[in-house]
Symmetry: C2
Subunit: 356 residues, 2 copies
């Protein structure tokens, strides 16, 4: 089964809505481009992908997405350089991870060429929506869900693979305050925490809302068994700098294998920054905050890129992080975004030009 750009059925919009987009005041993921890619899985096979005007989806009330949370997604971005050339960042890794999530959630695998041809064809149609303002990008949301019908709690027989795009500004503005969580948990051993499955996100909303009410922006999850180990922040992986060593937890069946995370690790090594991928205890982070060896913390993810953390709360005490002159986070963010926006050489081979 193979698909080429010429095979994709394209129905273009009659009138673009690009004039309605306020590119100077973009929120995150709330206005959308003219088109979307839709591919249906039916009778055991993916049908020919179609690109249609961005439009509502119509489903039976018994469609399993409404009942059993059988859904996964990816987050990607498209960037424009000063010549208006369009770039993606490690897109094949998103495709691979989508299929890893799909396997865990009993959703059929999407072939690489359906994903890549669909995505690049869509981007070529909607590339005028890619922001050129500093820090702006086109957020890309590939997602798959159970569109087949029936109340029986079992995998659906039909699925949709859709790509929708939203010109977007920053996910967080400014530094974030995080709360180390000890009561609620994000994922179970042997569960679905490593998958970008819908339910992993809804489960975080309530504890995150409680944290927001206390003045924090995000929760840092700990393991559900002992709450002794730092896991991830739900929308981001977490990096912690103690003295001059940059730490992050290992991925596991509970933790998402973040593409920004692994890129940061490679860049840091290349920069001569000492990195350690190992289990990090809450205890050592609190001790480091107390003795001054905790220099910085930041989140890493596609949406937030690198999100500096101003401080953390733990057991009713707030710990502030110092203002640094030589921040690893800032340095690494500049290097990764320079690669993404084609402002620097890409020695890692991560940049992917979308050919028009």
């Amino acid at each position: 089964m193979s698909i080429a750009t010429k095979d994709i059925i394209i129905e273009k919009v009659k009138n673009s809505k690009i004039d309605q987009v306020d590119f100077d005041n973009l929120a995150f993921g709330s206005v959308f481009t003219d088109h979307m890619l839709v591919c249906t899985y039916k009778n055991g096979a993916w049908e020919t992908p179609t690109i249609t005007p961005y439009q509502p989806i119509t489903l039976d009330p018994s469609a399993k997405i409404f009942h059993y949370g059988q859904s996964i997604f990816e987050g990607m971005k498209a960037y424009k350089d000063k010549n208006n050339d369009v770039f993606l960042f490690r897109p094949l890794d998103n495709h691979k991870r989508l299929n890893i999530s799909a396997a865990r959630m009993c959703i059929p695998q999407i072939p690489e060429d359906y994903f890549m041809e669909g995505l690049t064809t869509l981007l070529n149609l909607d590339k005028d929506f890619i922001p050129t303002k500093d820090g702006g990008s086109l957020y890309i949301r590939p997602f798959m869900f159970a569109s087949g019908n029936g109340f029986h709690a079992s995998p659906a027989n039909e699925y949709k693979f859709i790509i929708a795009c939203a010109p977007s500004g920053a996910y967080f503005s400014g530094k974030v305050k995080v709360l180390i969580e000890e009561k609620y948990s994000r994922s179970a051993n042997g569960g679905v925490g490593y998958a970008k499955a819908g339910g992993n996100y809804a489960g975080q909303f309530y504890p995150t809302q409680l944290a927001i009410e206390k003045g924090y922006n995000q929760v840092i999850w700990t393991d559900d068994t002992s709450h002794e180990y730092i896991e991830e922040a739900g929308a981001m992986n977490i990096f912690i700098r103690i003295n001059d060593t940059l730490l992050t937890g290992p991925t596991s069946d509970r933790i998402l294998d973040g593409i920004t995370r692994k890129s940061i690790l490679e860049i840091a090594k290349d920069q001569g920054i000492k990195t350690e991928v190992r289990k990090i205890t809450v205890k050592e982070v609190v001790a480091a905050a107390k003795d001054g060896s905790l220099k910085e913390m930041f989140g890493a993810g596609t949406a937030a890129v690198i999100s500096p953390i101003a401080g953390f709360g733990y057991r009713d005490t707030d710990y502030d992080l110092p203002e640094l002159e030589n921040s690893f986070g800032e340095r690494l963010k500049k290097i990764i975004t320079d690669i993404q926006y084609n402002k620097s050489e890409d020695k890692f081979g991560w940049r992917y030009q979308v050919k028009s």
Copy 2:
């Protein structure tokens, strides 16, 4: 905020599809009645419920249900007695649990009168769809999901509460074989396992499929920390009879507080059956299977009622359960279904007649 039946906006079907239903060969939850109840939460309030012909739902591709699994549901049944009177079983408990699930998933609370008036009005319209054949019932699916838009991973600002109904036969036919699972898990400590949240179900599909490939029907989940304790079967709570004592695990933040489960416990006590609600180890169940003190196991849930278990697999060994003359499961099933179908006195006050 209060709603009376007369306030519900009703749009009846022009032509009923009841003639297309094969009441002699009903599967579970795959054909639907003429109407559905839909209520929208918007601008911080529930709008007036509407009953419309059963019809597709239309949503923006960025609706949060597609991305973040923010969805919950309930399972209920309506029964007809020989006079064609219509009954529900402990419906207020379903309403309460729906709101417990809603709180955990950051979904707004649905008022009791919206739920009960909506449900009974719908049932009165569609009561001809309630099967009268032995073991048949109208399966009722109240569900709520995030219909608000946007790719930001945060709670939606709009929701739908919908009730759809499906005339249904048995969920399982015959006895089931279960596999005690030690690698995969259903829920985390501090997670959402006690909520009827969509994502809890999709996460079970893959391990359940692996079990089905090995010849089992369902997985019995163990705790994700040690895998030493029996939890639930995903679509059912689990009861285990050792000698003449009926055991079931305690509910927790990982285990659903099943309405059939708690009814069974009350009926068993009333019947003079010794019950114990306590943590059950896999080890003791295997030991009891080996020494012959394990008499029976069954699942309990709305869809499956009481589902007898023929045997279980554990670490590549199968353990068969004996055929009993005096089965607790059969006895309890007859008592609970006689109450549900108005064939016996209801000393517990669980039956709820739907007044026409």
